[in-house]
Assembly symmetry: C2
């Protein structure tokens, strides 16, 4: 053996993996005569044994929707649809992502019922339940088929759309997760009627966020719709939910970086402080409300930083308030807030990237934040928050 006459040999290969994302808005999808669920399975092979399915249901949703177990079993009781082998209830809200037992219970059910890569996991619930159940389904056998039924506004216009699954560890949001694309995301408008007013309103903070970043016309639509949304008028709210969901899906599909391998994640506007507020409040501050505050904070900072005019800032804060959302939290005054910047940087990796506004509809990435300007932005929100 002669070490020195060996030259390193390198073999490289690039390859593309194609993913298909289906997003459906409908009403009463569990009704016996509604064809949407049948349509999802229309192209299933007929020469294979009937696929199995386990279903996870947000316990909060189940409590408010008597008979949902029977409705699910009844709707899938057709030979060309997957065979429902078990329905599990999963604690709703951030608890689903904080408790490792949720993942263990899901994996155990997947194993017991021989759910394989051609079988299904369906999940009915809010964004957190969907994230946690999706992490189990995306890692079992390196990915069984997932169908998401988001039942909150936040889930339908943002959280359930796209490629992320994950849970919290070490007190950190989404510390462990996997990219995976669901077979379909089915948004049932009827489910939104089970929400309390706070859970209803919080979802629209993500609509404000994406409009601020990408679409001034859409911001105007939200502004016009804000009072109707707060009154829970579905005919006013529906187009906002659909448009927001569509913008999210298009961003994921067309950004060229759906699995976030590169630097910019412009959809994270307002999120560095939002994630931090959630954990500082022991998750008493919900994600949507924290995002409302985070969006207003980064808008205020954009103004203090000389990028965003005062009129635009006022429109953002005013619309947020009219949607029934908070724009300030006393935790913003806590010195621990700033650690959110480092935690956010660590999750994304590389240097800090925060998105600011140079006008409504125009996000821009920056790589540092000035602490004094941040304090002045917080003071602005404190003095402009409704009493």
């Amino acid at each position: 053996m002669s070490p020195k006459n060996i030259t390193a040999t390198e073999i490289n290969d690039d390859f593309d993996v194609r993913f298909t994302h289906r997003l459906i808005f409908d009403r009463d999808v569990l009704a016996i005569d509604n064809p949407t669920i049948d349509r999802i399975f229309a192209d299933a092979p007929t020469d294979e044994p009937r696929a199995g399915m386990i279903v996870a249901v947000d316990a909060g949703l189940a409590a408010k929707t008597p008979g949902i177990h029977d409705a699910i079993r009844g709707r899938f009781d057709r030979p060309h649809l997957p065979d429902v082998r078990e329905i599990l209830e999963v604690p709703g809200g951030e608890a689903a992502k904080n408790d490792p037992a949720v993942i263990d219970r899901m994996l155990d059910a997947i194993e017991r019922h021989r759910i394989d890569r051609r079988s299904y996991v369906a999940v009915f619930g809010g964004g957190a339940v969907i994230d946690a159940v999706g992490f189990a389904s995306s890692t079992a056998h390196r990915g069984v088929r997932l169908i998401r039924f988001p039942t909150t506004v936040l889930g339908q216009l943002d959280a359930a759309i796209g490629v992320k699954n994950g849970v919290n560890r070490f007190g950190k949001k989404n510390f462990v997760g996997a990219f995976d694309v669901p077979v379909a995301v089915i948004c049932d408008e009827r489910m939104l009627e089970t929400l309390g007013d706070r859970r209803w309103s919080e979802g629209f903070s993500e609509a404000v966020k994406i409009a601020c970043l990408q679409d001034a016309a859409f911001f105007g639509e939200i502004e016009d719709a804000a009072d109707g949304i707060r009154e829970r008028d579905l005919d006013v709210s529906r187009p906002v939910i659909h448009r927001c969901a569509e913008l999210h899906l298009r961003h994921i599909a067309n950004s060229g970086d759906p699995f976030e391998r590169r630097e910019a994640r412009p959809l994270d506007f307002g999120h560095w402080s939002a994630h931090r507020l959630e954990s500082m409040s022991d998750f008493e501050r919900s994600h949507g409300e924290a995002v409302a505050i985070g969006v207003c904070l980064d808008a205020a900072y954009s103004h203090v930083d000389g990028r965003l005019d005062r009129g635009s800032l006022d429109r953002i804060v005013d619309t947020t308030v009219r949607l029934g959302l908070p724009v300030f939290d006393p935790l913003l005054l806590d010195t621990g807030l700033i650690e959110g910047l480092e935690e956010f940087r660590e999750h994304l990796g590389g240097r800090l990237t925060v998105t600011l506004l140079e006008g409504i509809g125009h996000g821009v990435d920056v790589h540092e934040m000035d602490l004094d300007r941040l304090r002045r932005s917080i003071a602005h929100l404190e003095s402009n928050a409704p009493a």
Copy 2:
């Protein structure tokens, strides 16, 4: 609200995600004057803080390679390379995949050292250690950067190449895992010298497998090289290892289905019984040896089934024996063997798909196996195994 006038709205989007796979063969990559590791990081951005790295080392390798910790620290002690923050030893062999504590220790180290998506995890070890460490790195922050240094023949020509990561759960191989592509796979020939003879030989069963499936000329090369391989002549073994690795990488990149969403996985030839033999033997039968037996079993079945001529079967069995590999195990006579077919089907999903041979170099998928023919195939191996 008027349910009946709402029509389901569907928004679909397809998108491609591009992955790049780098595979490097070299010798003495930890030597101070070897440039291979520098080359991997040559295009790292210079305007970012130095990235961190944690390193997992197979405990078996560390025991046989005194000074490997210092060698790793010394080689990476350059400002343009990642900063080694901790070196962890991980139990080698299937224990790495059976013990959930391995994943927990890796995630804990990733969290403590603030390893982010632009930071690195490096792993030195056999295929099982690489699979387990890769599962932790591919799920932390939904994926930190992984560099694999496979140190066994099996790792270098098969297991460390490609997109799979995972661990065992419920006594089932790879029950939990994730698809993710490493930044680079660096195969150091020097590391192979630490292997015992059984660990050396077992890797070549995967070369026999892929040659049987895809490449009759390559099978001829293995046949010619078999005695030199058994004598551990590197000049004879090296081209076989490189060619086998290249075939694996090309298959993954060019099959059109690297993440195994569809049915066929022709690289699983001989694996339904191999996985079962491993678990029936409580993993005393190594993966490579089990694959040698599994390949001979499915070759024998191909002959009994009238697909493969006797001469070709004899060449396969003879080459396997000359490589120092087993072709029979008494566990093949256990009635539990057959459960391997269902377990294998479940992991892949859908209907059973097993690959048989219609000649050396020509794999073909079938969807059932006849138990009587299987018994005759096992009897053939029993009577043809060396005493």
